[in-house]
Symmetry: C2
Subunit: 575 residues, 2 copies
């Protein structure tokens, strides 16, 4: 099937199909979404207005049999940060896009009127219909209703009530193989989909052939090596499968970098209550699944199925950062409260990091008491109602900070800082400051080197080497986010000398190219610069590459402070 681009113009509900253009060859996932945003979106436009565009793009390897290759990206100008934004996810949608030969779906304009729409993508192209039944419904109900209506084989991309209300923490959801919810989490892209008035996109690839491979044998060989590298690494082969990402609670707490009580301490006294080990025990005792893949072809299986006290499905994809946001940051140490909040956030359609941090900031402002789990769950639930308080929370941590007149608001470029204190893990602080995405640990996960020694230890409490570390990681990450591979392949890429060549071989075998590892890093470099340039054109400056001023306070137990000067941080972009 020849590669194509769909354009949907919501002004008049028209669809055009274009051949995948030569200038975008070699781009997929984040590389493609960021390139299209940079080429086609007016940098100074209102993120919720008609000049913003929402771009969906599967990764370069998405749809192939390579392990952990099924991710896709969505890009736009972010309503949360005002920057360029890319967010990627597993689930089934990326693979369906790839099988139908869709390299990008670009949604433009805004429809007149108040109706919401449903886009169906199948063998006959795109059909756009008014969607009234599902308006106001949560993601779980929307997925269930759409699969009941159109068949269990369809993939669903949807927004919840938060996206419909265009709240800045709104995410975009995609169903996993069991019809549960995964999310394009960060940056409020659900609000852009809401502004385009699209409630859901369904994908039916039932009659589509498998993705073609230019060199099937070479692909198979590389795939074997690559899978072996993933399974052979202690993190992707052992830690993540056993405890999920929540294995990090004890690791980061031990390192003194677990931000506790709105970033006042680096260690939590209650960490044992919500650690990966505690979660594993709870899941096992209740007959849940400690291991689960969010997408077909996942061999890491860091997800899980977390049941409630009666053994009924409650949530999955129950991540460290979410659990930290309630557990340590907000003092809600009961895993059941956190799991209920996680379920609600998935259903309402808000980013769990942004929302969890917002809840802790609301405690700082006195909206609810610190550590009150029931009140925290209610606060999350409030978002669905569209009440003023729900809107404040659903617009994220910076919104809560403004509402309550606070200075202790952990955000960079308006996006919440996640679960790693930048004073005690300085490399991740450089990533928070400099990534074009607003504070985002996944943009250059220096924690791996600072704490786990992956790719060589860069001591976390020292300034030395952090700029270079974050820069290298951000380039590699931009490239990995373009491949459709899960970011958790990066551990093996760093430590196993066979992994990176295998990844490059996979790309070459898929497309019949002759890329070298350097080409892939250069791709990441180019993406990063494209994104940075967009932000500068949107009015950002180096003054936005800074942590909030309260990080000059020292953080126990190391009494670490954030001691990078502006000039030192600005060195990041000298490459």
């Amino acid at each position: 099937m020849s590669a194509k681009v769909y354009r949907v113009n919501m002004n008049d509900l028209s669809v055009t199909t274009e051949e995948f253009p030569a200038r975008w060859q070699g781009l997929g996932g984040r590389g493609l979404t960021s390139t299209v945003v940079a080429e086609e979106v007016v940098p100074t436009c209102h993120p919720l207005g008609k000049h913003n565009r929402l771009i969906f793009a599967p990764g370069l390897l998405t749809g192939t049999p390579a392990a952990n290759s099924g991710r896709m990206s969505i890009g736009a100008k972010s309503p949360l940060t005002g920057t360029i934004k890319e967010s990627n996810v597993g689930g089934v949608a990326g693979q369906l896009f790839a099988r139908m030969g869709i390299r990008a779906l670009i949604i433009e304009g805004e429809p007149p009127g108040e109706a919401f729409y449903h886009l169906h993508i199948g063998k006959d192209g795109i059909k756009i219909r008014v969607e009234s039944e599902l308006v106001g419904q949560g993601n779980f109900a929307a997925i269930e209703a759409l699969q009941a209506r159109m068949g269990r084989q369809v993939g669903v991309i949807s927004i919840g009530p938060a996206g419909e209300m265009k709240l800045a923490a709104a995410n975009i959801s995609v169903c996993d193989p069991e019809g549960k919810v995964r999310s394009f989490g960060r940056g409020g892209l659900g609000a852009v989909m809401g502004a385009k008035r699209i409630k859901a996109i369904t994908l039916d690839a039932a009659e589509a052939p498998p993705v073609t491979l230019a060199k099937p044998e070479q692909f198979k060989e590389a795939s074997k090596v690559f899978s072996k590298a993933l399974l052979g690494h202690p993190v992707s082969g052992e830690g993540l499968p056993n405890y999920g990402t929540n294995v990090l609670v004890n690791v980061i707490n031990e390192a003194g970098g677990l931000p506790t009580r709105n970033f006042r301490q680096g260690q939590s006294t209650g960490h044992d209550n919500f650690s990966g080990e505690a979660m594993h025990a709870t899941i096992t005792a209740r007959g849940g699944k400690p291991r689960h893949g969010c997408m077909p072809g996942c061999i890491i299986q860091c997800s899980q199925v977390f049941p409630d006290q009666d053994g009924e499905y409650l949530t999955s994809g129950f991540e460290y950062e979410t659990i930290w946001g309630f557990g340590a940051h907000s003092g809600v140490e009961d895993l059941d409260h956190i799991a209920r909040a996680d379920r609600l956030m998935d259903d309402i359609g808000v980013d769990s990091i942004e929302t969890a941090v917002a809840v802790g900031v609301a405690m700082e402002g006195g909206a609810i008491a610190y550590g009150d789990g029931a009140a925290a769950v209610d606060l999350v639930s409030e978002i669905r109602s569209g009440s003023p308080l729900g809107r404040i929370i659903g617009n994220g941590a910076a919104s809560v900070g403004r509402a309550y007149g606070l200075t202790r608001v952990p955000v960079v470029k308006g996006q919440a800082i996640p679960a790693y204190d930048p004073r005690a893990i300085k490399g991740i602080g450089i990533t928070y400051c400099t990534t074009p995405m607003g504070a985002d640990h996944t943009a250059g996960y220096a924690v791996a080197s600072n704490i786990m020694g992956i790719g060589g230890l860069v001591p976390p409490l020292e300034k030395e080497g952090q700029i270079e570390l974050s820069r290298t990681l951000q380039m590699v990450t931009a490239a990995v986010d373009s491949t459709g591979l899960c970011l958790f392949v990066a551990m093996a890429l760093s430590d196993d000398p066979l992994a990176l060549p295998a990844m490059v071989d996979l790309l070459n075998a898929r497309y019949g190219e002759e890329l070298t590892p350097d080409d892939v890093v250069m791709l990441g470099r180019r993406i990063l610069l494209t994104e940075h340039e967009f932000n500068m054109a949107a009015g950002f400056t180096n003054k936005d590459d800074r942590l909030p001023e309260f990080f000059s306070e020292s953080l126990p137990p190391h009494n670490a402070v954030w001691d990078f000067s502006g000039e030192e941080i600005d060195e990041f972009w000298n490459f």
Copy 2:
């Protein structure tokens, strides 16, 4: 009395007195506050944090017998806009500062703990006490209680509940000669005072001598000429005294530039219900005062006393922009509803322009129905409660826009656009874009030339000449805002060839200097550049000098659009 500067450090509640330094000679009012902010405030600091400073400075002529010379300025980094901010007001405080020889009061740091404080300034310097009685009280009650406690002769500067809550639309109030309320309105400086935890400042100048004049006879002569020019101008001598600033409803409506229904039309069908003429008739019928001076020595008397239906005092300083914000922008056409809202805003301590625009934007978002006066009054009242909805409104129009996911939000640099549509009155649009203060008509009131032909007509619907007009006016305004003169002297300055020399003579006679009119314009130029430079250092760029994108829609009845390119606007700063 020798000129001095008081510094209050709220970190430890200490006070120091400094001689007025040579480098600040020739500076007062806005020129002084902006210079101190630029010298002493870290441009990237959090406006509500310990690194921001709040600077009070009477104008250069404040305290003298010159007509309309009693104003003072407050400056800081604004919590609403993030820019440098100056706001000035009449009332009695400026003259008391001047009589006590205080050229500036600089408030630094932030106190530990939750207490609010009361600063008393008298012949023995500054005394700082914990203030508990007045916390949570409105400005009317605070002024009444403080004057009852300390004597009717004391001047009072205070914040209402909005300032205590650090809401971004919070203003700072000052009592007028009758103990009623005037406000340093724009830019949220009340939130900075709240962050410094100062509920009120009282001023007792009972034993202070009059302000000294270097050349009393020359001053007297110049004063006569200046007064005559003010009274001889049709606007300051007739229009404003008879109808207040609200004379503009019919003028701007006739010009097609009265923003109606959140900037959808340029004319209101209901304008007769809330025009200056209607207001005058209501005041007269109820036994109120159509003319009133907000400060001793005012000969323009544009204020008024607006009584309720029983003839009881309801509000004063009932301005055109406030009345427009409810009347045309929000469709609340009943003057009594608007007056009640005005009274509430004065008492709660929020900027009436920001709040009125926020109310209209809340109608756009569906929070209350368009045109519902009782609901609008309730919405304003809600701010006092600290409820989530009150916080959304009390943080201003941009906050409401974010909460409700709107693109039709009339703000520049986060501050609400007031009562003149920039498409139909293009000169004021250039001022909105370029003033370092965020959208502010007073920063360079091109309406006077565009609509009233003051200083020569620059046709409002054409682009030609608007950049130069706004630039000249912004320079002159920055200078006038430094003198302590009411901005309404600018009409005479533009049209009466004797007025500007008389103003310069007043300055020379006060200080024994030899300034020329050019020196005064150069002072304005320097202030403007200082402010712009601060903003650039804070991270602003030319991308912030833009109107919201919805101004590309055409505005009836002229079907005018905002057609300045970015490059054209950027020409403003080429001087």
